[in-house]
């Protein structure tokens, strides 16, 4: 006898939605087959719960109350006038509204030589062989629930290529905007390939114009070519009602230099996943991020890094500030296979708890099979240091302001690694806004 688990409302919604939508989603028969396989996996196992190790601290089955319908096209006029999340960064903004790439709202003028930008939906409809190949993922990634749902429901996204040796001077900013009511869900996939010795700064912002329970699922697959330099920064800024799933898949080539930063500043339920792999020797990568939580928000950062080549160096630094009854999760796994000698990896996560009920869960994991490596990890969790606070107070600085200074200092170690000044400043501005709201 096979026991049939009770389906939650979210699972029921998913089961009803996929068969109804599968043929109207963009893509050839080959794409539908890939979608079917992905959805089949989710349907078979259901949404992951706390007994699934990867989701132990973020019980998606319990936390996802619904799975809203697919987003409509949205009101383009409202999207057009929305204030940009980052000012003054001279970025090339590419707008994805309600899961659809909007070239008419995007800046496509004077593309730098070697930079090409296409719609994923168009490529899927055309059955583009390169794009289809790029949809294939390692099993461990493909079977991840957030990834599988993205594969099943993706409506659009950007296919960005930077040719060998091309230096893209202006940052490329992927602006994700959800617009309209009632709540809807979106799934967007970007495929970004940066050729040998090329350079790119890729910014992602994810926001919503309405305070409703939108679900967003944004996935970026990034290929960092040999000797390439790529800087990736994501600002996740949705309202407290929203659910936000993001996934970054990065393959880092030989002698490449890659940095990624995630600012988890929004959504009631957020999970930022990174699946990264060193695919060639002598490469360097930095993985950093901050999380700021209040109320009953929950944010999860899950990093899986395969140090798959010799003499690669990585630095991981994640900092969380948690107030009220909020909860922050960090799970970081670094695997060093036997051949990856001279690996140098240092992973650190630190949480600052601002209330008695705040919670931080940290799970660092190192799996090391090579013998000539330097790998370290650390996790700290604590309240604001009373001695530091007293010193600031003793100079007349009011308590809330003193706490804000110390919180900003705590986060600064991670934020100050952001190379792009405009994004750095935009983020500091957001952090200060959060601190002001707390002080009010």
């Amino acid at each position: 006898m096979v026991a049939t688990p009770v389906r939650t409302p979210a699972e029921q919604a998913l089961a009803a939605r996929y068969p109804a939508e599968r043929t109207s989603l963009p893509g050839t028969a080959d794409v539908i087959a890939i979608r079917d396989a992905a959805f089949g996996g989710v349907e078979k196992s259901g949404l992951p719960h706390r007994r699934v190790e990867d989701w132990k601290y973020t019980d998606l089955r319990a936390r996802l109350k619904t799975f809203p319908p697919a987003a409509g096209p949205g009101d383009v006029a409202r999207v057009l006038i929305a204030a940009p999340a980052v000012e003054g960064d001279k970025a090339r903004r590419l707008v994805i509204a309600n899961g659809r790439y909007r070239p008419e709202l995007s800046d496509l003028e004077d593309l730098e030589p070697g930079l090409s930008i296409f719609s994923l939906a168009t490529a899927l409809e055309a059955g583009d062989a390169t794009v289809l190949a790029a949809l294939k993922l390692d099993d461990a990634v493909a079977s991840n629930t957030a990834v599988a749902l993205n594969t099943a429901f993706m409506t659009d996204g950007l296919v960005i290529d930077v040719a060998e040796g091309a230096e893209v001077g202006r940052p490329v900013e992927l602006v994700h905007i959800a617009e309209g009511e009632p709540a809807a869900s979106t799934a967007v996939r970007h495929l970004v390939t940066v050729g040998k010795a090329a350079r790119l700064t890729l910014i992602e912002t994810i926001e919503s114009l309405d305070t409703v329970a939108h679900h967003s699922n944004v996935m970026t697959v990034l290929e960092v070519g040999e000797g390439a330099k790529v800087d990736h920064i994501r600002l996740q800024l949705e309202p407290d009602e929203a659910v936000s799933l993001t996934t970054l898949v990065a393959r880092i080539g030989r002698e490449a230099n890659f940095d990624t930063f995630n600012a988890a500043l929004g959504a009631g339920l957020a999970r930022a996943q990174i699946f990264a792999e060193f695919a060639g020797r002598d490469a360097q990568a930095g993985f950093r991020g901050i999380t700021m939580l209040s109320g009953r928000r929950h944010a999860d950062t899950t990093l899986s890094l395969i140090h798959g080549a010799e003499n690669c160096q990585s630095r991981e630094l994640y900092k969380a500030v948690i107030d009220d009854e909020a909860r922050s999760v960090f799970a970081g796994r670094i695997a060093v296979p036997a051949h990856a000698q001279k690996t140098d990896a240092r992973m650190m996560t630190a949480s600052l708890l601002l209330s008695e009920e705040a919670e931080a869960d940290a799970k660092p994991e190192l799996e090391i099979f090579a013998d000539d490596v330097q790998c370290g990890h650390g996790a700290t969790c604590g309240a604001i240091d009373e001695d530091l606070l007293f010193y600031l107070l003793s100079r007349g600085i009011p308590k809330v302001e003193a706490e804000s200074m110390l919180i900003l200092a705590f986060l600064g170690e991670a934020i100050d690694e952001i190379q792009n000044q405009a994004v750095h400043d935009a983020l500091i501005h957001r952090v200060e806004g959060w601190l002001k709201a707390r002080a009010a």
Partner: protein, 250 residues
Amino acid sequence: MLEIKNLHARIGDREILKGLTLTVKPGEVHAIMGPNGAGKSTLSYILAGKEDYEVTEGEVLLNGASILDLEPNERSVAGLFLAFQYPIEIPGVATMTFLKAALNAHRKAKGQDELTTPEFMKLVKGVAEKLNITSDMLKRPVNVGFSGGEKKRAEIMQMALLQPSICILDETDSGLDIDALKVVSEGVNALRAPDRAFVVITHYQRLLDHIVPDIVHVLSDGRIVRTGGPELALDLEKNGYAAYVADAAA
């Protein structure tokens, strides 16, 4: 200016101050000397409002008003300044940001407008120069990477900027070489004024050669056991605290 009346205080179950009484008038410099464990640093922390200590009896008045119910920042803007024995390093908080926040909190309390950045820079640079504080030091996070002497000079700089009415110097001489001691003492002496008083807490006579006190107290076992003029400090340097410790125990 500062009146401490029959002050009793404890940390945990241990009573540290056992009925301390002290009156400091405007313009005066008082020295408090005493052996290790007498309660000197406890006194300075209690005056500044550190939470770890519990005041069980007595009162502390600053310009006639009780300060024991005030938060540390309120005591600061009311005119009390503690120069720490061990100034705290605060990584990630820029010195200038810190000084500006402190200065503006004081100005706000006095109903004054915030200083503009050029005004603020000019003020800080003027004060820093007199204390041999380089612009490189001002660019660093608060006290981070400062030597012992630099930290003490930075404390005096803060004191000069905030213009308190009562300054508590907690073992400001500890960790200072002769040259640094001179710079720090000159900084303090420059701040002596008819409307400002100092309480200088120290183990040694040495500091009092440079900052000459009007009145010297001996603190032992949580009480002032002897009060005299500057000659008392010389006597202590020569004969030690043994006689007073015995007195207090008796």
